[in-house]
């Protein structure tokens, strides 16, 4: 299983803060997880495509191509830039 966490404005769009995906080898990166969401949640997938969305894997900063394995927790955080 892959646990996917959505933060703030992304949780608003997703309508949830957490989503558990059954593990399959095709979900091997945050980018692949984003792509897998396109069919069921196109608005969420678009929001994840915007610049400067931050990704974490198991509480550490990660990239869109960071390897993902069964049991990992992937968090997506929308950009915040104001001051």
């Amino acid at each position: 299983m892959i646990r996917v966490l959505f933060f703030g404005a992304l949780a608003d769009i997703a309508g949830r803060e957490q989503l558990d995906l059954t593990w399959q080898p095709s979900l091997d990166s945050p980018a692949a997880i984003r792509l897998a969401l396109a069919a069921s949640a196109p608005a969420l997938e678009r929001a994840l495509q915007q610049p400067q969305v931050l990704v974490a894997r198991n509480l550490d900063q990660a990239g869109w191509d960071t390897p993902v394995a069964d049991g990992d927790e992937i968090a997506f955080m929308p950009p915040v830039t104001g001051g």
Partner: protein
């Protein structure tokens, strides 16, 4: 040596075992550059001035606008149209006349940063745009100065701490690469809840006090996210990117 008045003014933090008189003296000898005196810079500057940080450099090129007052708590309605750096210095001098306040009304590009960073102990990034954040990151890395970088939007805020004193990353550009396209959303287009900025700016002040009195702080190497709608916090470890153009491995000349 602290005067009797100073003992009184700072008594409620002097009481803390890990501040005490020596911690207060460290604060009074410290110099902090605050870049941006908006929603983050207002509370950060107010708390650091109140705490007796000896010298605050207050940098903001903007003039105060009516739309700023919903979140930029350092200013009054009658201040509209005035330069923020000078207004901030005046307000903070009234709060604590014992500290040095220097208003800088020019934009903080690389050149201006290089000019003002010598003699500074810590930099707070309280700006509202990506280019300034990257410039501040590069300058702090080059000058080996610790950097506390905060941002907020909507109901959300974040804080990241970078300890460049040993000349090593991770740095802001490891988190958000230089040259990344700017997000569409900004405070002007999306809006922001004032106290979310208050929380993040106050967090910068907490970490700054902690760093100055103890030599380290808990946010170095971390990203902290706050969601004001759900009241939740999330902590992410920052990861140094070896290919980072700012703090990555220098290219070996052959």
């Amino acid at each position: 040596m602290l005067s009797g008045k100073q003992f009184q003014r700072y008594s409620r933090q002097l009481m803390l075992e890990d501040v005490g008189e020596s911690g207060q003296e460290k604060l009074s000898q410290a110099s902090i550059l605050i870049v941006g005196l908006g929603g983050l810079g207002s509370p950060a500057a107010m708390y650091l001035a109140a705490a007796g940080v000896g010298r605050l450099l207050l940098a903001d090129p903007d003039r105060l606008d009516l739309t700023n007052l919903q979140r930029q708590v350092l200013y009054q309605t009658a201040d509209i149209g005035g330069g923020k750096a000078a207004l901030a210095a005046t307000a903070l001098a009234a709060l604590n006349p014992e500290i040095r306040l220097e208003a800088i009304d020019s934009a903080m590009d690389r050149e201006t940063l290089d000019q003002h960073l010598p003699g500074v102990d810590l930099v707070l990034d309280c700006t509202d745009n990506g280019q300034s954040r990257q410039d501040i990151n590069r300058a702090c890395f080059a000058h080996r100065l610790p950097l506390l970088s905060a941002a907020a939007l909507g109901w959300e805020g974040q804080l990241a701490g970078f300890d460049f004193r040993a000349g090593a990353g991770p740095c802001y550009s490891c988190l958000i690469a230089e040259g990344s396209p700017e997000p569409v959303a900004s405070c002007a287009t999306t809006g922001v809840i004032g106290p979310v900025l208050g929380i993040m700016g106050s967090m910068q002040a907490v970490e700054a006090v902690r760093l100055l009195v103890s030599g380290s702080c808990s946010v170095f190497g971390q990203l902290r996210r706050y969601d004001g709608k759900r009241g939740s916090w999330f902590r992410v470890g920052l990861v140094r990117q070896p290919s980072c153009p700012v703090c990555g491995n220098p290219r070996v000349e052959t």
